[in-house]
């Protein structure tokens, strides 16, 4: 067995035993070798640079009357389902706007053009891709990725380069407390997520005990922190309070703990994969709960495929197709739902609605500012106080929390069996409800 392949340089190294003399003798040959190798390296560098330049030229070949909006989508990874729903919302808005002639900014009309990449649900890629979107693809405005964790990483980039970003699919508040100027949040912040569920449970049993079981990710943690305090304020006892790693697929241990704690209500979850599994396993282990509210997961139409395990599960929702907001501009919730179903053959969830609203609000701000200058559009957004199909929108202008959403409300929707089919109904707040709350949930 030859050793040479492991340490091939040894031949050269051995020859180095008499350094000075050998060096003097072969100096000229050495320089020639060097020149040749450097050339090869330089040629490599040049060709890579050339390729990059060509690529960049291609990418930024947008015409003068197009408006480029950049963002990443989680085409792969655990956030895939909800992120793609958000993408569909973006795309529906873009198609409608372009069909109507584009965005009007003063005297100029702009066709909307998207540039997007797959962030694979990973924060590391997000920063790289957003930098690329700004620097190479010359995106003029940005939408956020989906999920609070990814948005936090993208937000830094938008601030570093002074680009305006509308964040949708992100409820965590900390991002807006770091001193930003160009972020604008659409969703109700995380600390309001479970207030509706707590109030609903309290209305049925003022002495209910709560088990808080949530995913260890920025969004769910933010919700949990707020929920703890809010439960105490309402006199509800939290008997179990635990987080699980986001990639957990086996909840049997933690469900046993829930059963041991004799909790009445289970609140928590995370995003789709863990939420769906948790719901299923709670059902299989016949945990004696009277109420279950999970974050995010039950909002997706796909949740219904869990069958009996999905029955009665509720989810705090940024929006539901049945809401009756009267918009100041843009389509009504019913019109939006109809257009979405026609295009994608599935009912929209709140992620899609949020995506659509992001586009709508940007369009409105540009039209108000009559310009696509980021400073002017930001000023217009800062003054926005309107209702759209998505609900109320007003951004905080306090520098310590700039961009935080302060006018949007959440509803609680629950999966109920109606005529043999699972249907999502709004059950809380009572003023907005479309069906009666089911307690016990099963």
């Amino acid at each position: 067995m030859r050793n040479e392949y492991i340490f091939p340089f040894r031949h050269g190294w051995a020859r180095h035993a008499s350094p000075v003399g050998a060096l003097r003798i072969s100096a000229w040959r050495a320089i020639l070798c060097l020149w040749h190798t450097k050339e090869v390296q330089m040629k490599k560098l040049l060709s890579i640079a050339l390729a990059a330049a060509l690529f960049a030229a291609q990418a930024s070949a947008a015409a003068d009357d197009t408006l480029t909006i950049g963002f990443t989508v989680s085409q792969t990874g655990s956030l895939n389902l909800d992120s793609v729903a958000q993408l569909h919302g973006f795309e529906l808005w873009r198609d409608e706007v372009n069909a109507a002639g584009g965005i009007k900014a003063g005297n100029q009309r702009y066709q909307v053009r998207f540039v997007s990449y797959d962030d694979q649900s990973q924060g590391g890629r997000v920063q790289q891709l957003y930098t690329r979107l700004i620097v190479q693809d010359k995106a003029q405005f940005l939408f956020s990725p989906y999920s609070s964790g990814l948005v936090a990483t993208a937000a830094i980039i938008s601030e570093q380069y002074g680009k305006l970003m509308l964040t949708t699919g992100a409820a965590e508040q900390k991002t807006y407390q770091l001193g930003n100027k160009y972020l604008f949040q659409l969703y109700t912040p995380a600390d309001h997520y479970l207030t509706g569920a707590l109030d609903a449970v309290k209305s049925k049993n003022p002495k209910a005990t709560i088990a808080l079981v949530y995913s260890d990710d920025p969004f769910s943690k933010a919700v949990a922190i707020a929920t703890r305090t809010q439960a105490k304020e309402r006199g509800l006892n939290v008997v179990l309070d635990e987080s699980y790693p986001p990639s957990t697929t086996d909840f049997s241990a933690i469900i046993n703990k829930v059963i041991s704690s004799k909790a009445d209500a289970l609140l928590g979850g995370g995003h789709y994969p863990d939420g769906a599994t948790l719901a299923r396993q709670v059902y299989e282990q016949k945990a004696p709960l009277k109420w279950m509210t999970l974050l995010v997961a039950p909002d997706s139409p796909q949740f219904a495929s869990l069958g009996d395990a999905a029955k009665g599960v509720s989810v705090p929702s940024q929006w539901a197709p049945q809401v009756t907001y009267k918009p100041d501009f843009g389509p009504t919730p019913a019109a939006f739902t109809k257009a979405f179903e026609a295009k994608y053959k599935i009912a929209p969830g709140y992620h899609a609605a949020g995506g659509y609203a992001a586009g709508l609000l940007l369009q409105h701000a540009i039209e108000q500012a009559q310009s696509i200058d980021p400073q002017k559009v930001a000023a217009a957004l800062n003054q926005t106080n309107a209702t759209t199909l998505f609900g109320g929108t007003k951004f905080s202008t306090d520098p310590k929390s700039h961009g935080l959403q302060i006018a949007h409300d959440m509803v609680l929707t629950q999966w109920l069996m109606e005529g043999g089919k699972l249907v999502k109904e709004v059950v809380w707040p009572l003023a907005a409800k479309t069906a009666a709350l089911a307690y016990p949930y099963h």
Binding site: S243, T248, D250, A253, R280, K286, P288
Partner: protein, 287 residues
């Protein structure tokens, strides 16, 4: 009190499946001194095997386990000839990297084809409920099947000709060659067997929890922990190691937040590696 007991029982049930997963890894390691870093991919392959067989052919899930095991065997042999054969006997780095690259390619292909969506094999069996705690039928059956397979492996290694040949090769390859055993063939079959075990454990896991293409990674890490606990090349040790790990998880869960359990597992892993690299359950002396 019953909560703790229930947790322990549940831990042991699931631990047995970890043990099965590790058995394949430790067999390969013991026989040819190769750490199969494609182990995770093979577990996922088993999961998808069951899923595809039940989804497209409508087979009942437990009937799909047999064909998955057989398919896993052939995939293992193929993998041996592609990635492992050339690196046997070379420094450990080479075999680690070659199996790892095979893992990357397989997971990459899997992601390209199936994305990273959650897949589920719908299985429901009546479980046993005891004092409010339910042990799902799937968990119980998985543990039973693991015991059966482990028993079968034991019989095979000790009484079947090929099994004894495998043990001979793992003891001393040159001597086995001199004794007339075609060691290269035996190595490839042993690798196939190890992979078949990994696929089977994947198949069983698919009946318990939902999975994605990326699920293999976590089980691979658990397999390492179990293998180290049980001692290299020691399938019986792997099973006990799995049970021990399940027991540890079951014992710890009622008392500490669930998110601390991985910390404990990995610390135990490193400590056992340093202090008792031959494993805790090594009942035979290995040179």
């Amino acid at each position: 009190m019953y909560g703790i007991l229930a947790s322990i029982i549940d831990g042991v049930l699931v631990g047995s499946v970890y043990g099965l997963a590790a058995m394949g890894l430790t067999l390969i390691w013991g026989v040819m001194d190769v750490i199969n870093l494609a182990h995770g991919a093979m577990i996922v392959a088993g999961m998808f095997g069951v899923f595809l067989l039940t989804d497209s052919l409508g087979l009942p899930p437990y009937a799909a386990i047999g064909p998955t095991m057989v398919l896993g065997f052939f995939v293992g042999v193929l993998l041996y000839w592609i990635a492992v054969h050339r690196v046997i006997g070379r420094p450990a780095l080479m075999s680690l990297l070659s199996t790892f690259s095979a893992d990357m390619v397989l997971i990459g292909l899997g992601t390209a084809v199936w994305g990273t969506v959650l897949f589920n094999v719908p299985v429901s069996l009546p479980g046993i409920t005891w004092r409010g705690y339910t042990f799902t039928g799937t968990h119980i059956l998985a543990a039973v099947l693991t015991a059966v397979i482990a028993g079968g492996l034991y019989l095979f290694l000790n009484y079947a000709r090929l099994g004894k040949a495998i043990r001979a090769v793992s003891d001393n390859r040159e001597a086995a060659e001199l004794a007339g055993i075609p060691t290269t063939q035996v190595l490839s079959l042993a690798f196939g067997l190890g992979v078949a075990l990994a696929c089977t454990s994947g198949a069983l896991i698919a009946t318990l929890f939902p999975f994605t293409v990326l699920s293999g990674g976590a089980y691979q890490l658990k397999s390492f922990v179990v293998t180290v606990l049980g001692g290299l090349g020691n399938p019986a040790g792997a099973l006990f190691g799995g049970l021990a790990l399940g027991l540890l998880e079951g014992l710890a869960t009622p008392f500490i937040p669930v998110s601390w359990i991985p910390v404990i597992e990995f610390v135990v892993f490193v400590v056992v590696l340093i202090a008792a690299p031959r494993g805790l359950f090594n009942f035979r002396r290995r040179s």
